[in-house]
């Protein structure tokens, strides 16, 4: 198990280093408006994938907690939710940067994807407010898990479903083609897919570290609760 864990960390590090560095060097198609900003695809999209992966891990553990009532599953949910917030910040910043150079603005309220993202982050913030305010630990876990399931489903609707049904500037939404259909040529694929795997791997690595940190806090710092 320890050997697999080590191999996982090595592979994740290699994939990340490769995608971050080679993403800056690889030849990209010369597309109007996008120009060199298309390289952001190697950073912006994988970060969101990592964030959604963490949200799914949190939801999965929340369901397991509600079924089995074992607090360790809620600890996992809590760690995963912290990772969701952690990855949403670079995701949002890289997206805003890209929007500035392609759409001409940092933020537009006409764009359903951006609105969906903002609302999803708000929902996850409310999750933390909910969990921090309940004195009883078991009750915290029940409410937190229930709200986490709710948050995940709502996030999927706001980010993945609703933008596809309305008019949107975002690629892959509102009838626009995604990068995969036309612009993502084979040179870019050699960076994009490793980047997705690398960032998802990094999210899991950080999540695992955070879980261990919470466990140590809980068992050795004398605190009754860590959330």
């Amino acid at each position: 198990m320890k050997r697999y864990s080590f191999a996982f960390k090595i592979i994740t590090s290699i994939l990340l280093l490769y995608s971050v560095l080679y993403g800056l060097l690889v030849d990209v198609p010369a597309l109007p408006i996008l120009n060199e900003t298309i390289r952001n695809l190697f950073y912006h999209v994988p970060v969101w994938f990592a964030m959604m992966f963490m949200a799914a891990v949190g939801m999965f553990n929340a369901v397991r907690f509600l079924m089995k009532k074992e607090l360790k599953y809620f600890d996992n949910t809590h760690a995963a939710s912290l990772m969701v917030i952690f990855f949403s910040i670079p995701g949002l910043l890289t997206g805003m940067l890209w929007a500035r150079f392609t759409w001409g603005t940092w933020w537009t309220f006409q764009e359903p994807k951006l609105n969906g993202v903002a609302i999803s982050i708000l929902i996850y913030c409310v999750y933390f407010l909910l969990t921090y305010g309940i004195p009883d630990l078991k009750q915290t876990a029940v409410v937190g898990s229930a709200y986490n399931i709710f948050s995940f489903v709502m996030m999927m609707i706001f980010i993945m479903v609703m933008p596809r049904l309305t008019s949107s500037l975002h690629p892959g939404n509102g009838g626009n083609p995604a990068f995969g259909s036309y612009d993502l040529d084979n040179r870019m694929r050699t960076v994009f897919y490793p980047a997705v795997l690398g960032w998802i791997g990094l999210s899991y690595w950080l999540y695992d570290l955070l879980k261990k940190y919470l466990w140590i806090q809980k068992n050795f710092s004398g605190k009754q609760r860590v959330y």
Partner: protein, 218 residues
């Protein structure tokens, strides 16, 4: 099927009729909002702004009404209810009861909006359908948030806090439909957004029903 549903509904009605202060609070709230609408009627003339005002008032009303949806259970005033009702009965009866209150308030506001702003919108077939759909969506989200607040020591505040980010998307879709209504284009574009609203509403409702049994008993 669900024999406790009727019992729970009657119980809610009787409890509210007994608690005169709750009824008076609701009445005072309604009258204050009507005063605001009357005040706004002097200055707001654009149809889209009127629509925005109407739905913002509905959001406040829904949050105000929903905050006490589970208050009796949360504060232990009605702990005996846990023995009588199945969680589904408890959920459905309260959902129906508070939706009726919201719908009644919505109809009153719509009546005054028609009187003061002369919108000529709400008391047609499509207007009622829009009002019903919009209120149902806001109510379902507010109700779900209220169920989360049930387990919290500051339940009232938390239910409002939990409801606000959840209510925003529903409100955005409602306003989109509302603006089409204001432009008289509801027949062309309204249907797509109405379907979306009902889809969000349905998912929220199903999720709330599934999660509620885990939340309702302390």
């Amino acid at each position: 099927m669900l024999p406790g549903l009727k019992h729970s509904l009657i119980f809610l009605l009787k409890t509210d009729l007994r608690r005169k202060n709750e009824l008076l609070t609701l009445a005072m709230y309604g009258i204050s909002l009507l005063f605001m609408i009357g005040y706004a009627a002097r200055t707001v003339t654009d149809q889209k702004n009127i629509m925005l005002l109407f739905w913002m008032l509905q959001v406040f009303s829904v949050l105000f009404v929903e905050r006490k949806a589970f208050l009796d259970l949360a504060t232990g005033q009605n702990a005996v209810g846990f023995m009588y009702w199945h969680p589904l009965e408890c959920f459905l009866s309260r959902w129906i009861y508070f939706f009726l209150i919201n719908f009644l308030l919505g109809l009153i506001y719509a009546l005054f909006f028609e009187m003061w702003f002369r919108q000529g919108l709400w008391f047609s077939g499509s207007g009622i359908c829009f009002l019903l759909s919009g209120l149902c969506a806001l109510h379902t989200v507010g109700f779900a948030a209220s169920s989360f607040g049930m387990a919290h020591e500051k339940g009232n505040a938390v239910s409002v806090l939990a409801a606000i980010p959840l209510i925003v998307p529903a409100l955005m879709i409602i306003l989109k439909i509302g603006f089409y209504f204001a432009d008289g284009l509801q027949g062309v574009f309204g249907g797509q957004y109405l379907t979306m609203l009902w889809a969000v509403n349905g998912i929220t409702f199903v999720l709330s029903v599934l999660i509620f049994p885990y939340l309702w008993k302390p």
